[in-house]
Amino acid sequence: MKNFDDKDIEKELKIHARGLSIPEGAAEIFISRTLKDAKKSLRNKTIITEKDLERAIIKELKKYNADLAYVYQNHDTII
């Protein structure tokens, strides 16, 4: 069992956003909205896997920035 910390995910997403040259202010707003909506969509589930959380975040991120969603989805498949 693993505890997920919002702040870690937020930090990771912010690094990706900065790496993609997304303006910091905009990134901060849509990342917090993404996390909020992702949590809302997983509220009904009793057991949440790491993949479930990742999938929910990607689904929400796609609404705001497709590149960031793509990098978040594929950053561990590059090597």
């Binding site: 900065r18 790496g19 040259s21 793509y70 990098v71 561990d76 590059i78």
Partner: protein, 250 residues
């Protein structure tokens, strides 16, 4: 007397041999430039560094990554060259020994391996190396803070590809020595060979500096996955064929 008969028969053979050596070296350089692990780690590190630090600092850190790659590849190549030159001093002749056959066998195996197993099945460009090592490389790419971190990561990522690069270094050393025997300038080929792993890194560096992002690089890697496999397999097989045809005595 026929004038053709008066020409020394070795003249043609020497030129042909040099031509074959240069061909093998170019194919080996092409393989080194097409290997995907070091460019992948470089792109990931550049992305993370750019996400954490200023543009100048990330660019500076990544320069040390390149130096790390270059230093390790130069060290390994020169060590192998030195070891083989000692063997050559003892009248070691690769064409009359089993050495060439073993190398050809390894190259054919690598050609087959690179076509079918270089990339893992599924989405993305996951490579053949064990997942534990990729996780460690990703973690290190994410946590570059100093120049020495970048240097070590560059050296480490290049070392992880030894399965593919080691036979190439051996072949290149033998061929460069063969060129040396024929009074051809070897320095140029040795330098070109040692610098060839840097070509993809400079291309990625240029792409980042031109405004492309990691997303574009991942997409282009995915798009060219089959082409990379094909080039690697073809080059390995061609080198093996050239060695079998021109570097073995039955």
């Amino acid at each position: 007397m026929n004038t053709l008969e008066m020409q020394p028969p070795t003249c043609y053979n020497l030129n042909m041999s040099a031509f074959i050596s240069i061909g093998i070296l170019i194919l080996a350089m092409l393989i080194l430039a097409f290997l995907q692990l070091t460019p992948g780690v470089y792109a990931l590190s550049y992305h993370y560094a750019f996400g954490k630090y200023s543009k100048i600092k990330s660019s500076y850190l990544m320069l040390f990554f390149i130096i790390g790659v270059e230093v390790i590849s130069a060290c390994i190549f020169l060590s192998i060259y030195y070891l083989l030159s000692i063997l050559f001093f003892d009248n070691f002749k690769p064409e009359t020994s089993i050495f060439t056959w073993i190398l050809s066998g390894i190259l054919i195996t690598l050609g087959f391996f690179s076509f079918f197993y270089y990339f893992r099945r599924g989405n993305g460009t996951k490579l053949f190396i064990p997942r534990r090592y990729t996780k460690a490389l990703e973690l290190n790419a994410n946590s570059i803070k100093t120049r020495s971190d970048a240097f070590v990561l560059g050296a480490l990522s290049n070392a992880c590809e030894f399965l593919f690069t080691l036979p190439l270094y051996i072949i290149a050393s033998v061929e460069i020595m063969r060129l040396d025997l024929q009074n051809t300038s070897i320095n140029l080929f040795a330098i070109m060979f040692v610098l060839s792993p840097l070509i993809p890194l400079f291309i990625i560096r240029y792409k980042f500096q031109a405004g492309q992002t990691l997303a574009d690089i991942i997409k282009s890697r995915n798009k060219n996955k089959f082409f990379t496999r094909l080039i690697l397999a073809t080059c390995f097989s061609l080198i093996a064929i050239l060695i079998i045809c021109f570097r073995t005595i039955y």
